[in-house]
């Protein structure tokens, strides 16, 4: 049951049709992992914490650098040189004392990804590289955990939600790797995409609305245009296709 304090704190969102006190209780019980405490992970985790998601695990191995501060709004001038996860836990805990925020300072790898995501209700993909996104996508499918993908480049972004076993996965649509290089970005782009990711996670947890499944949303900030592309499951997908299930 939610408390009197919760009733007051979340009053405006409890008013939303489909959320109510029952939805707020679902959010309180939910465990969300935010993989990456940078550009996407900052807005995603801030809004998940503000909404009252009960447990948020932030995973990141980096330290805060000055060049992060144009977009990674969880981290401030005073945090330069500090572990990102420590900085994130401090801010999120101050934002909402009712949320349990876990810090995991590790590099996500094939060896540890399964243990990192096990037991969580939703994975928010806030990584900065494709190989790790693919590791998370595969682990999400293996553990049957919904996976909310987001990515940015410059003033462009993408979002897609994956429900394992039911909808197309990231590997169904992304077949190759881009060259690993420093990418251009301004904070407003991950702000838009990270907030959509948080919206998807909240909708999934509460069980309302229409998820961004079997479609990828492409945001182009320069044109100020959102375009939606249909994504179909690839029967030969190495992560969710028939052959992967037989292995």
């Amino acid at each position: 049951m939610i408390s009197e304090d919760d009733r007051e704190r979340y009053d405006r969102q409890i008013m939303i049709r489909g959320i109510g006190e029952a939805g707020q209780e679902k959010l309180k019980q939910a465990k969300v992992i935010v993989a990456g405490g940078g550009g996407l992970g900052s807005p995603a985790s801030i809004y998940l914490a503000a909404a009252g998601v009960g447990t948020i695990r932030i995973v990141d191995h980096d330290i805060v650098e000055l060049s992060n501060l144009n977009r990674q709004v969880l981290h401030w001038d005073k945090d330069v040189g500090r572990n990102k996860v420590e900085s994130a836990v401090e801010k999120l805990s101050q934002l909402n004392r009712g949320v349990k925020v876990e810090a995991l300072e590790v590099t996500i790898s094939e060896a540890n990804v399964s243990a990192i995501v096990a037991g969580f209700d939703v994975i928010v993909d806030a990584m900065d590289n494709l190989p790790t996104r693919f590791l998370l996508n595969k682990a999400a499918i293996e553990h049957n955990i919904p996976f909310v993908h987001g990515a940015v480049f410059g003033l462009e972004g993408r979002v897609m939600t994956i429900i394992p076993g039911k909808t197309a996965c990231l590997r169904c649509v992304y077949r190759g790797f881009t060259p690993q290089e420093k990418f251009p970005v301004i904070g407003v782009t991950p702000a838009v995409i990270g907030c959509i990711q948080a919206t998807e996670a909240i909708k999934y947890i509460v069980g309302i609305g229409k998820l961004l499944v079997n479609r990828i949303l492409v945001y182009d900030g320069l044109k100020m245009k959102f375009t939606e592309f249909t994504v179909k499951r690839n029967p030969d997908c190495e992560h969710c296709g028939k052959s992967s299930r037989e292995r």
Partner: protein, 90 residues
Amino acid sequence: MSIKINIPSYLMPYTDDAEVVEASGSTVGQCIDHLIKQFPRIKKMVFAKDGKLLDYVSIYADGDFIYGDGLATPVKDGDELHLFYVIGGG
């Protein structure tokens, strides 16, 4: 056949800032070839040195993503193609 190819902002520097390029052809591949004929600098952003579509580039056409092995997919007059590339930043 006249086809519209939508160019993402990322690739507009290679099309003299054109957002949409008119191209002709009866397959997706022919339309992309015509795009490259008009804007040769975009070729390196679409095709690898071996002449195959880069594995992080796809073409969205009529509800489907088309990858390197699908360039022979037919198009019809008035179709729209979208150049789509993988991004991984966060």
